[in-house]
Symmetry: C2
Subunit: 419 residues, 2 copies
Amino acid sequence: MAVSNIRYGAGVTKEVGMDLQNMGAKNVCLMTDKNLSRLPPVQIVMDSLSKNGISFQVYDDVRVEPTDGSFMDAIEFAKKGAFDAYVAVGGGSTMDTCKAANLYASSPHSEFLDYVNAPIGKGKPVTVPLKPLIAVPTTSGTGSETTGVAIFDYEHLKVKTGIASRAIKPTLGLVDPLHTLHMPCQVVANSGFDVLCHALESYTAIPYNMRSPCPSNPIQRPAYQGSNPISDIWAVHALQIVAKYLKRAVRNPDDLEARSKMHLASAFAGIGFGNAGVHLCHGMSYPISGLVKTYKAKEYNVDHPLVPHGLSVVVTSPAVFTFTAQMFPERHLETAEILGANIRTARIQDAGPVLADALRKFLFDLNVDDGLAALGYSKDDIPSLVKGTLPQERVTKLAPRAQSEEDLSALFEASMKLY
Amino acid sequence: MAVSNIRYGAGVTKEVGMDLQNMGAKNVCLMTDKNLSRLPPVQIVMDSLSKNGISFQVYDDVRVEPTDGSFMDAIEFAKKGAFDAYVAVGGGSTMDTCKAANLYASSPHSEFLDYVNAPIGKGKPVTVPLKPLIAVPTTSGTGSETTGVAIFDYEHLKVKTGIASRAIKPTLGLVDPLHTLHMPCQVVANSGFDVLCHALESYTAIPYNMRSPCPSNPIQRPAYQGSNPISDIWAVHALQIVAKYLKRAVRNPDDLEARSKMHLASAFAGIGFGNAGVHLCHGMSYPISGLVKTYKAKEYNVDHPLVPHGLSVVVTSPAVFTFTAQMFPERHLETAEILGANIRTARIQDAGPVLADALRKFLFDLNVDDGLAALGYSKDDIPSLVKGTLPQERVTKLAPRAQSEEDLSALFEASMKLY
Ligand SMILES: NC(=O)c1ccc[n+]([C@@H]2O[C@H](COP(=O)([O-])OP(=O)(O)OC[C@H]3O[C@@H](n4cnc5c(N)ncnc54)[C@H](O)[C@@H]3O)[C@@H](O)[C@H]2O)c1
Ligand SMILES: NC(=O)c1ccc[n+]([C@@H]2O[C@H](COP(=O)([O-])OP(=O)(O)OC[C@H]3O[C@@H](n4cnc5c(N)ncnc54)[C@H](O)[C@@H]3O)[C@@H](O)[C@H]2O)c1
Ligand SMILES: [Fe+2]
Ligand SMILES: [Fe+2]
């Protein structure tokens, strides 16, 4: 169980120049995306760097929901710049891109697939030293400032995968709630659903002492260890915050309290799932976003079709938790109650449907599109969706219940419509 | 909010040899005390080291509640051994001694006072690299496996002080509940009171955003930052476990569930207070144990007078929280409720007495000695106790309410008798 290094508070970003100076940085790479590059969070970081006399170059070509191609572009930039530190200002897309840039620029002789998760890549352990990376999240979702994970869309296979290593965990996360005031409501909602699923999945993941095979040497322990008494705490707290504040944060851009709480919840859930892992909603989400056809998320201001990560994850959640509940029904009921369900008269064997109903109500209240069908998928796509899920066994094997291909098909089918 | 790396589970200690091998260690220092050196936790570590072909030397002269003299002895041993890694198997006394040994052996030209907290020492920042240190706690108290703190009795001044630096935080804590089965009941009780106070003090410490002066550069932030949303979570969880399991753990040596939970609570509270800090109970405890006359704690099996740390801390808690409650009365009431008080009819202005009563009842149920008088102190000692508290301002300034010398006198006086 590793806890991450984060500093939380309104205004902490102003200190980033001093932090970098303390780390001895002289030539910094500032990564962000084209939307953020025009907004205050990036301006504040640039001012702080300048004020502390630190040279920097800006890379603002981060792709929203990155691909191997967009990662490569950032990596090239990083290699050329020979930077001695990195700052990522943005959502998961930016932080993940920056982690990859730091990794491959520090390991210039590696092939791209070397560090990509097996079976898609080679999943080699990282042994090279990386440069310090400060992550400044501007969404309330991925918790990427706390995790050793970088996710991208592998275009060639049309499926999302990632790189997972403690080595790419940011040196420091600056969680500054003021940055969330600029977030479009749809980004608040979708990144909030990511928090919701990180919490629900890590809390219902297979317990750490039931995972198999048990590695014979502790160095082979996976980053994702299964649910455990420490990740449980983070998951439950994050879920409580989501239940209490997400709707307010979506509906009112000026509700600093609600947006601040969600910003913290995203880091909490990140610490939780970064140790425990996620399972089926995430495993199934990767083909849902990878195979996107024409769906374009509102308010994302990007020029390519996109099912935002949080939406791709939450859309299967009612089906997934109906399926998994038979294993740890008490935990499923407990989370349903946190989300507002009345469980006093619920029977233990109804834990799945009770949680699923609570989730559907939550999504309906926030005007979420009605299932995979609304995202452009039909029954004919199910075989490809299943095929895209199978290589995600790094996460799917953390589900409390094993899944056959038929089970996966049924889960996608049950997620076509939500309401 | 910073990193603590812990691995939790029955039997995790068996892996310590592999962990050290993974770190490249070839010549390890195993530190422990004379009681533990005859018990299974040390045996298990030695077996694991041997099995993995790692050479090691045992130092079992750790003093229970260490002094500058006993630290120096361990430091000499460490310097001579030129070790490349350390394993500490024991309670706070052992872990703290091992941290100091590692620090000064890695910084051979430093004077002892260089790294000791100001104003007693020079409080210099640690810039030398240390060797890896694996901490294996056998008490459920200090949380020292998660903190960058090492406490000792500075005999010359008859007062406890310490070394505080992120650099001495253990590389890894192996929290193995099986070790707690060997603990004498009095050690369970007293180390449990330490957890209780870590939780209560860090939860009621001045909030991180009200601390002053605000350092102009983040590198000057103290390790103890004041209460914050993350430490709050650890504190509340630890307190809930103490309320539910400490009595069971004390009363029944075979209650593995209760003892396991307390073992985890001690790490939780350690992560909490390691970031937020402690305040008056701890600040006032240092002279209480430093000035000990003839009191000898039961079941500690040591040849010197001793007020165990947990006892020295908890004995002033009813007085302290009566004094501090006016600042954050809701938090005081909330913790009283966790400890079993009925607060439904309590008025907010009674928060202090309500919490104090809950504490008194808790201590009475566990047969704790009746106040400072029972530990051998009289009114005549109060001036020296106050004098010993004044240099502890590193912690006392984290109290939610400022204290004059008269206030401190009154707190010691009110702690002469508890019941
Ligand atoms: N590394 C991890 O641990 C992890 C975990 C979950 C998801 N992810 C990945 O993270 C990505 C999603 O990241 P995300 O949900 O944080 O969103 P994002 O980074 O993709 O950004 C979403 C949109 O919001 C805009 N935006 C972000 N912050 C803004 C702000 N404060 N003001 C105005 N506009 C803002 C961006 O420009 C973009 O258009 C996906 O690729 C996903 O797979 C990573
Ligand atoms: N570093 C920190 O963060 C921190 C925090 C709080 C307290 N402390 C310090 O830690 C010290 C107290 O440590 P402690 O309370 O853990 O106790 P300890 O290490 O002083 O041990 C207390 C007694 O219990 C025995 N013992 C310990 N574990 C045992 C086991 N499993 N079976 C049988 N006997 C066992 C020891 O031999 C000793 O006699 C004090 O010096 C205190 O100031 C440090
Ligand atoms: Fe996610
Ligand atoms: Fe303590």
